[in-house]
Symmetry: C2
């Protein structure tokens, strides 16, 4: 099963040729989770061959336009394509009113159930769960209420080792084993095949932390400790850290520092100010703190491989 | 002085690669008037090197998303660029509430004066005037309230003919003439130079009619009679005229018919349904009714030349 992150936009608020507003898709198996949705996101999804009908959950960090103005058009297209599957939309208070005001004046009656879930951006808590993932809120500190998200795979089962399985097993027995049960003799009730003997260690539960629009928050270190991939905004270079603090943004160095202290696997930096054309200095600066850093540029795909846990 | 129309989007509601949502700019001298503003319009403007600060008036036809979802981002960028010049925004009732709800939840305090003007889409009347243009509403008939716009140059003055002007004229005298006054002898009050003798016929007042999202409306013929350029939506081919009527759209043939009956100079058709890849059939069909037809494709620029009126 894949655990794959796609970056659809690397820019901050002021649009720049070639850079788009914040939007990312995390794909886990056949589920696609959209994180933020700047203007034009539906076109970026089209370029990545991810039809809007394939999204089942959307997480919005905050209500600055460069993080959600694409929602109007994306929901409109779902409607035009006669979506019937429900959609869950997580975001700060106010999102529902902004969208429903627009629906009312455009005479829109949605063909699908749109469930708004208000996220409290002041606390770290479980906000969503399905068979594949849990999602926790990550309190950011920005000019308006803003929430990051930590997406973590559900604990995985031990993997069946095909070469240790007797050839004679029935489909029912195989299913019992794959659900973690030992096989018993029907008459005596004695164990005839132990689950633990024919399985290897489970795959690791992979994780991704999306930290959008925030000042540098040392308190975040504990919340994102050890995640496989951390996205952290790096609007400015460190020479402008005063300006970063005033506008509630972070610098490339601060993002690197946080990644190092949290011991994450990989850092992605993005949300670059329009003042920067060349982003190499951002990369160098973050890498001076934390080497495994990449720029979260349009089209970047980060795949976290499946790996067994140590036994 | 130029009178130049730029097409920024040719598509209808469902997005298609290469086609964008409705937006057009009419440039008259150094004034730029934006007509509709689908998602991504600010990027199209950027491609055409028209900075958002150079727009002074925006006209919105109706509140379906493909005609105004770009406003959120465009106004946001004006704000980021610290616009101070007032902006007038014409559109149907509801636009103000949609935008101000969003401003409220994003904590936006506009740096410029945004004047909302509600247009009544049921009547044909003067809605705007400046030194260069008058703008009249054109009642459309669509699923929701929808308004076209007729932009017409103000009557032009007669042109000074340099080769008939005496070399000895003072700047003050030149200005008097250019304001349409005869020159008088200061002592006797007698006419020494007649305005009519040193001027040629005025340039024609040019005109553009923007007819967005409507069924075929024969009543429109009188309102757009003789305009230099008519844009009319042609969502469908005539074989789908039933569907056009049901969805309150028009066909390429109907657009051609209207242009012929109104005796316009040039027809532009657009707002093509996503079902059509090849648009040659649209062009052929409209031209079978009215030969001077063009497809209103992205990047199309139509320049109406300056011409003297007949004397």
């Amino acid at each position: 099963m894949e655990f794959e992150l796609r970056i659809l936009g690397s820019g901050s608020a002021t649009p720049v040729p070639g850079r788009h507003h914040t939007a990312q898709v995390l794909s886990v198996g056949n589920m696609h989770y959209l994180l933020d949705c700047g203007e034009g996101t539906q076109r970026r999804l089209m370029e990545h061959k991810i039809g809007p009908m394939r999204l089942s959950v959307i997480f919005i960090s905050h209500l600055h336009g460069d993080h959600f103005f694409g929602l109007f058009g994306l929901l409109g297209t779902m409607q035009l394509q006669s979506r019937t599957e429900p959609l869950r939309l997580f975001g700060p208070a106010g999102l529902e009113e902004v969208l429903t005001t627009q629906f009312r004046h455009s005479g829109t009656q949605l063909s699908f159930d749109l469930e708004f879930v208000v996220v409290d951006p002041t606390v770290h808590q479980l906000v969503y769960e399905d068979k594949l993932l849990t999602v926790h809120s990550l309190p950011m500190r920005h000019r308006i209420a803003c929430c990051g998200y930590l997406l973590r795979e559900q604990p995985r089962r031990r993997s069946l080792l095909r070469d240790r399985l007797p050839a004679s097993l029935s489909p029912a027995q195989l299913q019992q084993l794959s659900q973690g049960e030992d096989l018993l003799d029907e008459t005596t009730g004695e164990v005839v095949l132990r689950y633990a003997e024919v399985t290897g260690p489970p795959k690791r539960a992979r994780s991704y932390a999306f930290c959008s629009d925030t000042v540098y928050l040392p308190g975040l270190v504990e919340l994102v400790r050890g995640v496989d991939v951390l996205y952290h905004e790096a609007t400015f270079l460190d020479e402008l850290r005063e300006r970063a603090a005033v506008t509630f943004h972070a610098t490339a160095r601060q993002a690197g520092q946080l990644a190092r202290e949290a011991g994450v696997g990989q850092l992605l930096i993005g949300h670059f100010s329009s003042r920067y054309r060349d982003l190499e200095p951002h990369l160098r600066e973050a890498r001076s703190e934390f080497a495994p850093t990449l720029l979260a540029l349009e089209g970047t795909v980060v795949n976290v491989p499946n790996q067994p846990t140590a036994e």
